[in-house]
């Protein structure tokens, strides 16, 4: 059993890393450990548990900015945002359906660049992260970015930290952009699209500012908790419209008109149903627990065909640009077949047993030049590879 360090203040994080550097020991960095199934299992000398480095240190709703220590529970962030009628516009998914654990921390969310359906309109977690403080693998405090949105002051290390899976440094504090919640949210459903590709392109080429495009094949739609979707008896393509009330009404109507000729029929979901549907899509709640899950980021117009060619269960998000694929368990999660189906983009094995993940490249392999560059970048932050060894 590895030692668990549980620092209570920033200087102790620094001490823990300094200890690891001088003892050539490795550290697994965790918040609440909700996404440990993402990447390969880490075998480290000690665990650095950041959950006590916690608390919102700055929240100025009128400035659309929040700063929180890395271990701050997302539930706490959510509650503060709810009070001010604001949100994380990138709509992070809950790890519950995929990994079985609820919750998560601010640091974990940004380190994994967790973004949901609204990513296509509002950007990913990385687009909302403004700055951070961290300890490098050299045992030094460093920071980058700030608390303002417009900033070209030195290299944007903030983007680099987002999605780095804790391999560059231990973040201790993060500043990020928050946005007002939309006044109203509705969803236009297209049943039995003759081509979901064409329907999603048509909506994207419209000026109606759709904030979510998803496609559920019939068998997935049947697993929905929303009756209109569950009982559709055919494929369901969903388009979310958000904004001020008068605008939402007009845009929904226009979108219905645009989509009606492209499928069997159209329907409209109002607030409660609309929110329930997008929460399901966001959290990928359609697959049973034994399935292995892949996440493919591809050219959107190619998504539907790629998804169909893989002979598994799937749901499309991001107008086809994101495929959530579920396969029956196998020794290698059918890695070659999955990556072989894509011309470009990247595929991540989101869920499979430790042994399977140990055997395959969980994250998309890179060509030689890019892999070499990535390695040099990592070495610049963590020359001894003490953070999360083996995870990516």
């Amino acid at each position: 059993m590895a030692d668990i360090f549980k620092p209570e203040k920033g200087t102790q994080v620094l001490d823990a890393v300094k200890w690891a550097v001088s003892n050539k020991a490795s550290l697994e960095i965790i918040g609440q450990g909700t996404k440990r199934g993402l990447g390969r299992a880490v075998e480290a000398k000690a665990v650095l548990d950041m959950s006590n480095i916690s608390g919102i240190t700055l929240y100025e709703p009128e400035e659309l900015v929040m700063t929180a220590r890395a271990g701050t529970p997302l539930t706490e962030v959510q509650a503060a945002l709810d009070d001010a009628n604001q949100m994380l516009a990138f709509e992070p998914w809950s790890p519950k359906s995929i990994y079985g654990a609820e919750g998560g921390t601010v640091g974990g969310m940004f380190a994994a660049n967790v973004s949901g359906p609204r990513r296509i309109l509002a950007g990913a977690a990385r687009d909302h992260m403004l700055g951070f403080k961290a300890v490098s693998g050299r045992g030094e405090d460093f920071k980058s970015g700030g608390r303002v949105v417009k900033n070209v002051t030195g290299f944007d290390l903030t983007k680099l930290m987002a999605g780095s899976m804790g391999t560059l440094g231990v973040m201790t504090e993060v500043s990020f952009k928050v946005l007002p919640k939309p006044e109203k949210s509705r969803t236009v459903l297209l049943f039995g699209a003759s081509s979901e590709t064409k329907a999603m392109i048509a909506a994207q080429s419209s000026p109606y500012e759709v904030s979510g495009y998803a496609h559920l094949p019939r068998s997935m739609a049947e697993r929905s908790s929303v009756d209109y979707v569950k009982n559709a008896g055919q494929d369901v393509t969903a388009f979310r419209i958000e904004g001020p009330a008068p605008s939402v009404t007009v845009r929904c109507e226009a979108l219905r008109k645009l989509l009606a000729p492209l499928g069997e029929s159209v329907e409209e979901l109002h607030t409660t149903n609309s929110q329930a549907l997008w929460a399901e899509i966001r959290d990928v709640s359609y697959f049973t627990p034994e399935k292995q899950i892949w996440r493919l980021s591809v050219t959107p117009s190619e998504g539907p065909e790629i998804a169909k060619s893989l002979n598994g269960e799937y749901v499309l998000d991001w107008a086809g640009g994101l495929i959530w694929l579920a396969l029956d368990p196998s020794d290698d999660a059918e890695v070659d077949k999955v990556r072989g189906a894509m011309q470009s983009g990247h595929a991540t094995c989101m869920r499979a047993a430790d042994a399977v993940r140990a055997k395959i490249d969980v994250f998309q392999p890179q060509d030689t030049a890019l892999a070499a560059l990535t390695k040099r970048v990592r070495a610049g932050f963590d020359p001894h590879g003490i953070f999360n060894p083996g995870r990516v």
Binding site: D3, N113, F142, W318, G345
Partner: protein, 495 residues
Amino acid sequence: MKMPKPDQDIIARRSEIIRRLQAIVPGDGVITNENELSVFECDGLMAYKQLPMVVVLPESTQQVSNILKACQDMGVKIVPRGAGTGLSGGALPLADGVTLGLSKFNKILDIDLDNRCAVVQPGVTNQAVTNAVMDDNFYYAPDPSSKIACTIGGNVAENAGGMHCLKYGLTTNNLLGVEMVLMDGDVIRLGGKHLDAGGLDLLGAITGSEGLLGIITEVTVRILKKPQTARAMLVGFDTVAAGGNCVAKIISSGIVPGAMEMMDKVAIDAMQRFVDSGYPLDVEALLVVELDGPEAEVDYLVERIEQISKDVGSTFLRVSQTEQEREQFWKGRMSAFPSIGRISPDYLTMDGTIPRHRLPDVLTRMNELSEQFGLRVANVFHAGDGNLHPLILYDANVPGDLDKAEEFGSEILKLCVEVGGVLSGEHGIGVEKRDLMGEMFTEDDMKQQQRLKCAFDTSGLLNPGKVYPTLHRCAELGHMHVHGGKLPFPDIPRY
């Protein structure tokens, strides 16, 4: 402003270097005569000039790769350049360096409306991307005021913003992929038509890297559908504080306008006298707010902002009734630079970002500084996102005036950092703000950033002397101060 001392050995080898470059780029792609070189002697930061040793204008990725390889081999520095519109001196040439211009990379390679993206070469202008898709009612959102001339490659290098980035994001939020060449000649591709590059977000890291990490040879950008309608509002106030308060109220009420610009009295007067934009001359602060989207939404938001403006005590309010009037409201703001140019022989354009609510304090202190230095200052301000552009008016023919203006500018930027902001919102650090980096970052912060450069450019030959005040050798940056003995377990709660 001190630049690294030119290496006389390199300058002595100039003809050999020219021959090597001519072997890679045949024809007129290598510029060596002084008259032609003088075109490249500065960028938009015109106070600093330097003739480059030689200019090379390649036209293929292979040529760029060969040039970089050859220069690395010879130990020759490279300064990348797009259209040279940058305002912070990022493309300032070096006496012992090759300026690598990308003007021949001017083709639009692929317009993919189905995937809402365009693939273009880096020398294509910002406006040309919009022009290429506007017949289909699409556009490219980031709109720096130099958009007619500035290039997409330069936009990536500086993470260019503009008036509309409040709602639509900066370059970094509208960029999907690049092809770039590293100093050792390696060609890499980051991102593509899909969202979120796999692996480390190197695409994010190279955006705004001011030509220090690589040469971009292809860019994929997100294009957006044009909003159905847009209307602009002019809202005037008796005090700057009231204007700032109005901005805060609009944002906190949940409205994110397409653009929200503010200007102070000096700027309003200069603009209105330059071109009739309908600006009132009896206000201390003026907002230009633009709402875009479906007509129903725009009308609704205009009404709400009218109400907010009245509530905070606006003294002037006009809403555009026609597209022509909307354009008129913008004319003044769009001509900020020429209109200031008419009231002063020279001016310095500053670019800091502050938390919005600190605006009244910052402007008050700026006016105090203005008196102290004896120089006028006009303010235009991307109010929605706190990006401040004080224009310091001076006369280069008055001895000492430029020095005074620069010192004044430094004080303003220090003030921005002091109130929680940053040195540059969208113009970049370049050489202009290089020596102020220490106001925001510790030595360790800057060393960590420079280690990123070492990963991309081990030789340190790409655009040296920009952004970072102290040049460190990569070997030195890689050195670790490890304790001789092992540290005992630290005093941290353990389980």
